[in-house]
Symmetry: C2
Subunit: 251 residues, 2 copies
Amino acid sequence: MQITLAVSTVIFALRPTSAGADPESGAPLPALWLPLVRRIRPPYEGQWALPGGPLGIDEDLEAAAARTLGATTALAPNYLEQLYAFGTLDRSPDGANDRVVSVVYWALVNSDEVVHSDRNTSTENVRWFSVDDLPDLAFDHDVIIEYALWRLRNKVEYSRIAHAFLGDTFTLAELREVHESVLGRTLDPANFRRQIESTNAIVPTGKRVTGTSYRPPKLYRYNNSAEPVDRGPLGRTDPAEPASPSRKPTA
Amino acid sequence: MQITLAVSTVIFALRPTSAGADPESGAPLPALWLPLVRRIRPPYEGQWALPGGPLGIDEDLEAAAARTLGATTALAPNYLEQLYAFGTLDRSPDGANDRVVSVVYWALVNSDEVVHSDRNTSTENVRWFSVDDLPDLAFDHDVIIEYALWRLRNKVEYSRIAHAFLGDTFTLAELREVHESVLGRTLDPANFRRQIESTNAIVPTGKRVTGTSYRPPKLYRYNNSAEPVDRGPLGRTDPAEPASPSRKPTA
């Protein structure tokens, strides 16, 4: 018996759902979706699991996560962050030869890209599921997804993470809709506007949506003084975080 | 060549320093300290490193962190949380036989306990250092400590983490002093009072410090509706976090 190190990735996208519709626009409300991979060998053969696999001997953890993501969705993530290392003794089935410790990443991908990607990469063994309607999952992947959702919902409230679901510019209504979809509840538009404007997180572009309405809504962009992708302790560029420290030379 | 999984722990305590003194009380200002272990074999023989070692085949990650902590300081932590899995290819010295991926925890211990523990467990090869005056460190442990400090300083501003450095009851001045020591800067007492009172994080006990002063300061305690120890996704009891999900039965 030995310890095997694996890397798995929880990949979130916002996609329209048929469950409801925006009362104003009539468009389907977006919801969180994630891709799962059907296992083709025991244990849990035939069940759905997070994309991932053993860490390559010459592969960085984050590179393994990005490789997994690319193989499953053909997408580069807008956001990629290490979530947690899952390593309890009971997470593998009884009688397994190896004990697996999984370093799990979570990623956000742009919704428009997903629609495109889905056409190209969706196969019998890769499928997108709404987080509200997940199948039976292999291993402890239900626990992992629940934790990733909790992290996402917390982070959307105090960081620029919604950016990963939006284009370069967006209206306040679009930004609010991302927050609502992630949090799974509606937000008061006036309160949301006050709250978001008090944070300096977004700035007006001076432009408005081009279209048909009498008063087209203003377009905003994120304040670029912060970095949307958290690449962990070794790649921080946010001024509030330590600059990439120089590496100790190897002896 | 193979991948070895190790667990290391960054253990923070607040201890008085001789570098300055509180202008009011004349007492030495506390500062953050951490214990390091001198390596007795190559690589980096003779240099200081974080306490830790290979994960046991039948040992949970958190149990390994607690074991390491106990062996180094004879203390149980007031706070223990997984920090990050460090696994870049360049973190081991050239020519090393194995590649090491380290799952790092960070812990907070009560200062009073440290003084006691120090008498019993300080040896030639275990020593406490001020985070402002660290020796040359083995591997990438300087990067790890810098990241742990960043996490601690962020977390003290929005969570109940200062509790781990305090007794059950404390004055506002004592709480402020913990925040100042962690952040490495002084805070305006009136602003600090307003800010902390607006969060509902602490509640007055109705008692005051017994002592000699004419108006002894009020004693507070933390609001017990939240859990001070983050035991990760599997042991959450904070109502804002998902309840411990039931484990999938093994097939």
